[in-house]
C-alpha cells in the first residue's frame, strides 16, 4: 500500500504508540498544521464513536446453555479418542460417542419433560448431537423410534399456525444455487422456477415465490 509515513505517525500518535521524543516532535508539527489538526480531530472522534458504540463485551443469550452445550461437545470429543473395541457388538456400540452426547443432551434438553411414547428407545437420540432452540418457551426433545426406524425431533411450545392460513405445499424436483447472487432457485418437475431462496440485509432467509400460493 502506498501510504506516506506521515499517516502512520498520526495513527501512532492517536493510539499512544509513540515514545516521548516522537510525541513531542509530532505535536510540534501538529500545532503548525491546521489540516493535520482537522484530520486528527476527525480520527479522534471516529475512535471515540467506535468505542462508545461497539461494546467490548456483550451479554450472551442463554449463557448457561452456551456453556453447557460446549461441555456436551467436549464430552463428545473425549469419547472420539481411538477406541478399538467400538466396531463389534453391543458393548462396543454403547461406548460410541453419541451415547455420552445423547445422555448429556437429554439431561439438558429433556429435563422436566414428560416421557414420550413406549415405542421410543431410552436415550436413543444417537444421531442428534446438539439442539439449540433460540426462542424462550419452546422445548425440543429428540429420540429414536425403533418401530418407525426414525430419528424424531419434537418441538413443543411453538406458536400455532393460524387456522385461516392456507398452507400450500410445493412440489420441487431440484434446486440450483447461483453463487454469484447467493440465491437458490427451486424448480418443479416441469423445469419451472417455483421459488427463490435468498437472504435479506440481515442475513435472514428471504423466500420469494413466482405465484401467490395463498391465492
Amino acid at each position: 500500500m502506498n501510504t506516506p509515513p506521515e499517516d502512520y505517525e498520526l495513527l501512532r500518535w492517536l493510539d499512544g504508540e509513540m515514545n516521548d521524543a516522537e510525541q513531542d516532535a509530532f505535536e510540534a508539527r501538529l500545532a503548525a498544521d491546521p489540516s493535520l489538526q482537522a484530520e486528527a480531530a476527525l480520527m479522534k472522534r471516529l475512535s471515540s464513536d467506535l468505542r462508545s458504540h461497539l461494546p467490548a463485551e456483550m451479554p450472551v443469550p442463554y449463557a448457561d446453555f452456551f456453556n453447557s452445550q460446549i461441555q456436551v461437545r467436549l464430552a463428545q470429543d473425549e469419547n472420539v479418542q481411538p477406541s478399538p473395541a467400538v466396531s463389534g457388538g453391543w458393548f462396543g456400540w454403547l461406548r460410541l460417542p453419541w451415547l455420552t452426547t445423547a445422555f448429556a443432551t437429554a439431561a439438558l434438553v429433556l429435563a422436566g419433560l414428560v416421557a414420550w411414547q413406549n415405542s421410543t428407545t431410552a436415550g436413543g437420540d444417537e444421531l442428534v448431537h446438539s439442539i439449540y432452540v433460540p426462542k424462550a418457551g419452546v422445548q425440543a426433545r429428540s429420540f429414536h423410534s425403533k418401530d418407525a426406524r426414525a430419528t424424531v425431533l419434537v418441538l413443543d411450545g411453538l406458536e400455532d399456525m393460524p387456522a385461516d392460513r392456507k398452507i400450500v405445499g410445493f412440489n420441487i424436483s431440484h434446486g440450483e444455487v447461483d453463487e454469484a447472487l447467493a440465491a437458490t432457485t427451486l424448480f418443479d418437475d416441469h423445469g419451472r422456477a417455483v421459488a427463490v431462496m435468498s437472504k435479506d440485509a440481515r442475513n435472514q432467509p428471504l423466500l420469494l415465490t413466482t405465484t401467490n400460493p395463498r391465492g
Binding site: L127, A163, I167, G175, E176, T185, A193
Partner: protein, 167 residues
C-alpha cells in the same frame, strides 16, 4: 430462462425492500459439488378425515411411500397427508434449502460423511424469518428425521427429511 426468473424475482424483492435491484450477473458455468440428495416433505397430521381429504396432495415417489405409515408408528394421529415435497442436492460448500412449502423450510449444511454411513448435517428449521431449532445430526438413509412442528387447525405440521439411498 431459469436465470431470468431468478433475476426477476430478486429484483422484485429488492424493490419491495426499497433497495436497488442487484446487478445482473453472468450465468454460472460450474455446478457446485454435492455430497448427497435428500427428500424433504411437509406432512399434515390430523384426526379429521374431512380436513385431510380436503388437502391438495403431491405424488410421493415410490421410495418414500412408506413414510406416512412410519409416522404413524411415532405419532398418534389418524391421517398423514404429504402436502408438499422437495428433492434437493446437498451442496458440499454451500448451504442447501429444503422447501416443501413457503411456510416451513429447512437449511442444510453438509459437514461431510458420517462414520458408519450417512451424512453429518447442520440443520436449521425455519418458519418464515424465525429459526425454530438448530441441530447437528446424522442423517442415514435407513433412519429419516421427523420433526414435529407447529399445530395447525385440528392437527399438526410435520417435517420429514430423508437421505436418498445410493448416494
Amino acid at each position: 430462462m431459469k436465470h431470468l426468473a431468478l433475476v426477476t424475482l430478486l429484483s422484485a424483492a429488492a424493490c419491495l425492500h426499497g433497495q436497488e435491484p442487484p446487478p445482473v450477473q453472468p450465468l454460472p458455468v460450474k455446478k457446485p459439488a454435492t455430497d448427497a440428495k435428500v427428500w424433504g416433505a411437509l406432512v399434515f397430521a390430523t384426526n379429521d378425515d374431512a380436513e385431510a381429504a380436503a388437502m391438495p396432495k403431491v405424488d410421493v415417489p415410490a421410495e418414500f411411500a412408506d413414510i406416512p405409515a412410519r409416522l404413524g408408528k411415532v405419532f398418534e394421529w389418524k391421517r398423514y397427508e404429504v402436502i408438499g415435497q422437495h428433492l434437493q442436492d446437498v451442496f458440499r460448500e454451500y448451504e442447501s434449502w429444503v422447501v416443501p412449502t413457503k411456510d416451513l423450510f429447512l437449511k442444510v449444511d453438509s459437514k461431510g460423511p458420517a462414520e458408519g454411513g450417512g451424512m453429518n448435517l447442520h440443520l436449521q428449521f425455519w418458519r418464515d424469518q424465525q429459526v425454530l431449532v438448530k441441530t447437528d445430526a446424522v442423517l442415514k438413509a435407513e433412519s429419516p428425521l421427523f420433526i414435529a412442528g407447529p399445530k395447525w387447525r385440528q392437527g399438526r405440521l410435520l417435517f420429514v427429511l430423508v437421505l436418498q439411498k445410493g448416494r
